[in-house]
Every structure is written in C-alpha cells, then in structure tokens.
Amino acid sequence: MLDADFEVDRRDFTVRAAVRVPPGERLALFGPSGAGKTTLLEAIAGLVTPRRGRIVLGGRVLTSTELRQAVPPWQRRVGLLRQNPGLFPHLSVRANLSYGRPATEPELTELAELLGVGDLLTVMPARLSGGQAHRVALGRLLLAHCDALLLDEPFTGLDASLRRALTNLVVSLVVARDVPAVLVTHELADAQAFADRLAILDRGQMLQVGPPGEVVLRPVSQRVAELVGYLGFVPVQCVSPGAGPTSPVPGDTVPGDTAGAVTAGIHPERTLAGAHPGRGLVLTGAVTASRPAGAGWEADVRVAETVITCRLPDQPPAGGEFVVTVLDPPYFGPDGAALPAEPCRPEQVRQ
C-alpha cells in the first residue's frame, strides 16, 4: 500500500497530495501542464523534499516530517519511469535490464520475451526505437523489484496504438506483480485506459478522486469539468421543482449575463443530434462551423450567447435551427460547484 499525505512548496504554489494506492491498484493523476503532477511523483521517489507530511510504502515510512525521517532514493525501492526512458547509453540492453539487480539468465530471458525485446539483449540503447526503449526501461524497474511504480507521462510522444499496447502491458504487469502504480498524464484517454481511480490535479490541489467514469461524468466542479473535456457551459432554467438546497426556484429566468446562473456542462462526446428529451438536456441553436473529426464530425453550435462543441456521426446542416441533445449533463451552481443530481427539470434559457 502506498499511503502519501504531504505538501511540497514550489515557487508558484504548494502541491498538496493525499493518495492511498493499494497493491495492484492503478491511480492516474490527470491535470494540465504545470499542475504539480511530476512534483508529486518526485516527492514519493525522494527526489524532492516535502515541507510537511508522511509517505509510507508497504509499511515502511519513507518520509515523515514529524519524525524528521527521509529515506534516500536508493533505499526506497520505488521505480520511476519518465517520458525519457533514461536507459544508460553505454550499457547494452542486457546490462540495462539487470542494472538494479543482477538477474539470472532464465529470469532475464523470460522478462525480455514478455516485453518483446528478447532478441535485442545485446543491442545498445541508441539502436532501439522509442517503444523498445520504454519496454526495456519498464523491464529494468520490474527486475529491480520495486515496491511501487511511478510513471511520469512515460509514453508521451509515441503513436496511439503503441501507447495503448504499452499501457496494457503495464496494467497486466502491475496486476501480476501486485504493486501500487501511479501514472501522471495530461491525456485523459491514457488515464482512463490505465487507472482504477482517477485524480484531478490543478495548481497543486487534488480537486477530485474517483473511478474514471464517475470523475468524467460527474465532475464535482466546473473547473474539473473543464479539465476533463467539457467545452461549453450553457445557462439553464428550471421548469419544475427540484431537490436540494441549491436548486433554482422553478420558473426562474436566468439573467442574460448568467451571473448567479445554473449551467449545464457540455461534453462534445456526450451529444446527440435531434431532440431526445428522455435522455438529457435538449438545446436549440445554430451551427456556426463544422469540420471532420475522426470518423464523424465536430460542430460548433451557438446556443444563446454560448458556443458549444458537439461530436456528431454526420455533418450537421449549416445555418438554420439545429437541435441537439446533451446526454445527462452535470449541472453547476453559481459558485461553480456541481449540483447534487439533477436539480430540477432544466430547460435552455431562451433570449
């Protein structure tokens, strides 16, 4: 079990972290660049010193400001894999793999075969492709018998299919070895593919921790929603009573400047063309632009004063009235906090 609760001062803000990752579980830290994700990993690895807090791994206290204790990096048994795989360029693949702990030949061969680098053991790192280098770096950590695996955007820059393959490999190895693993990424899809739990980090603060699906579909605040890909926030008004203290009064009209308004978060991938009142919020607007996106289309739709982005299977008609249904959107109060469940039967604010 990795149990960390600490604060690290950075020049611009303080990173506050509280994570508990049981053996075999994967936690993904997701947030924008400069949010403090790498700092958090480096504190666990012992490369930066927390101002306050405690880090415990498998019952061993690695850092405790209270006890004035800090185990040095070389005694932590924590593996850190960065975007740059950090292979030692003067050593062959075989020597790199067994750097942390001399391995027996069968052990080495078995792992190399598992990682798909079995025929590269005598090759120097400069001859490896990006994916092969990452596999070797991962194998080196596994052979060193690390008690925790920290992954700092390890597969950034690799193509999508290779990234997915390596992510699946790491997941299977983490489960098989029963070690806690923490992945830092700013690609939500990578985080979702990897993690049991997703933590959202912004300017050093952990805004939300939970199962990936829950965090994405039920963000606790508008800021979290923005970070996980909600690209538009449309003011809504209630047309029937709702529950909860923050629910708007039925029939309220939201002011045009949206101050004090309830808003619905619009995720581009949670939209359907046409009116489907039973499935979510129905909005009416006008298509201002559309472009191919993947196997479908991406359209900008002006709804009242807000432009929302929708991913649709077919190209929407330009101009004229366009109706789109937003599947079960999250709602946010005036303070940006999510409203508990659906506050009322919402309806788009009409000008």
Binding site: A45, L47, P72, P73, W74, Q75, R76, R77, V78, G79, L80, R82, N84, G86, F88, P89, H90, Y99, G100, R101, M124, P125, A126, R127, R140, L141, A144
Partner: protein, 295 residues
C-alpha cells in the same frame, strides 16, 4: 539593397527589379545557390589555409632537422634527462589534476557550489594570466619566505627550484584546460541518468562510478591529454619558479641560448613526440566512443 551589394551580382549573376535571380542561360541558376557554392569554396580554401598555417611550424621543424643533428644531440651524456624529468612531473601533474580537478569539475557542472561564477572565474584565472606572471605570483605564494614556503620547509620540502616547484608550475599552467574540459564532459551527462541509477539502488558515489564516469570518460580523457600537452610544454611559470630541474622546454631554451637553433631543434622534436601522441590517441578514442554511444 544596391545592385553592387547584391550577393547574386557579386557571384556573377544578375538580379531582376524585385531582387530575384535573372531568368536565362547560366544566369538562370538560382542566385543564392550559386552564392552558397562560391562561399562554400571560399570557406574550404580558408580552412585549408588556416590548417596549413597551424601545421606550418611542425612542417618547418621536420624540414630543418637532419638525422646527424638528432643523433648527436640526443646521444650526448645526460641529453635525455630532461625528458625523464618532464615525463615524471607530467605524470604527477595529471594525477593531481585528476584527483582534485575531477570533483571540482563535477560540482561545477552540477551547480553544487555556491556562487558558481566565482568558482569558474577562479579556474579561468590561471588560464587568463600570462604564464610568466603566474610564475612571479607563485613565488609570492609558495616561495621560501611565505607561510606556505615555511610550512613546506618544516617538512624538508621546497617549492623553489625543485621537482615539487616544477609540478606546481605545471599544475597551474594546465589545470584550467582539464577542469573546464571535465566540466563540459560532466555537463553532457544527463543528471536524470544519475537519478535513475540512484532510484535503482545505487548510492551517489556508486552511481557516479557506474554511470557518470563512463559517460564522461571520453571528455575527461580529452581534457587530461590536453593538460598533459600543456604540462609538457609549460615554460613561463617554470622558468621563474623551477629553473632546476630541467624539463624539456628549459632544455630547448638553454640549448638555444648556448649552442644555437640547430642544436635546439632535436629537443623540440622530442617534446612533440612526447606531448602529442596522448592527445591524438585520446581524440581518436573519444570520437570512437562517441560514435558507439550514438549507435
């Protein structure tokens, strides 16, 4: 831009009103390419001239030597004693530089020292000062009537006209070449590799030995070999503080003074033969090591 100043015109082409190259015959070749090829040829010729000029003294030495002069100069009784002195003092100098200069260079490369510019300035100081001035100042620092000189005296040592003085002078003249080369070599090693080695269980010293040192070795070897060449040729500080025992440079100087140019030239050849192979070998080896790392 005036036509006279145009590169295309200067290269024998024409330019149109908007400055673009003319359209026909040999003039239809794109102007900038023509200029590039001409400037490229000029660059190659310039480089060759500089290279030959730099090698000129060596060529002159070889063309002015006769085997008889070499044989008679080098077979005289005690003629090769200065060579032994130079090689011994050079070896001591390299040992001192490696032992003391390497940690300094590593700390400078990793920013582990407070006021790093001050440390760099200190290393550069002996590079920027004329060797003759270094010799004069060394007398004030380690001469027999200074605190350091007196302390050495208690140990029955002297830093004036002794082998120790020769080594001190050579260290001062060659140290910046090694320390700055070693600093560059260490700076070229990604510190994250050292971090990775530590996370894999290596204590810092072990990580240094297993990762940093092997990766920096080509640069360190180059630095040491250049320092060796400087130590072999050290003259300015040496003539002030360590006139005795004679090394090769002083042998050349005194032979020149006493018996003339023809007698001094064989010793110059000896100096080149002793000083140059190590840098050349280090250059070839470090180039091969670099190719190996780059795959």
């Amino acid at each position: 831009m005036s036509l006279a100043a145009s590169p295309a015109v200067a290269a024998g082409g024409t330019v149109t009103g908007d400055g673009s190259p003319g359209p026909s015959g040999p003039l239809s070749r794109p102007g900038p390419q023509r200029v590039r090829s001409v400037s490229g040829a000029v660059s190659v010729i310039g480089a060759a001239v500089i290279w030959i000029a730099l090698l000129g003294p060596v060529i002159a030495l070889l063309t002015h030597l006769s085997w008889n002069a070499i044989r008679s100069s080098l077979t005289a009784p005690g003629a090769l004693d200065p060579l032994v002195v130079s090689v011994e003092s050079g070896a001591v100098t390299l040992a001192v530089l490696f032992g003391l200069g390497t940690p300094l260079a590593w700390m400078m490369a990793r920013g582990r020292l407070p006021f790093p510019r001050v440390w760099e300035a200190g290393v550069l100081c002996s590079l920027l000062l004329p060797p003759l001035v270094i010799g004069l100042l060394l007398i004030f620092m380690v001469g027999p009537y200074t605190p350091i000189g007196e302390m050495l005296g208690h140990l029955n040592l002297s830093a004036s006209n002794t082998f120790l003085a020769l080594c001190i002078a050579e260290v001062y003249e060659s140290a910046p070449y090694y320390v700055l080369s070693a600093q560059a070599a260490f700076s070229g090693v990604d510190p994250r590799l050292e971090q990775q080695a530590q996370l894999l269980g290596d204590r810092p010293l072990r990580a240094f030995r297993r990762v940093t040192l092997p990766l920096a070795t080509p640069g360190l070897a180059m630095g040491l070999s250049v320092a060796w060449a400087r130590a072999m040729g050290a003259f300015g500080a040496v003539i002030i503080i360590a006139y005795h025992p004679f090394g090769i440079p002083l042998q050349i100087y005194t032979t020149l003074q006493e018996t003339g140019l023809a007698s001094a030239l064989p010793f110059a050849l000896v100096l080149l033969v002793v000083a140059l192979p190590l840098p050349l070998a280090a250059y070839v080896w470090s180039a091969r090591a670099g190719r190996r790392l780059r795959g």
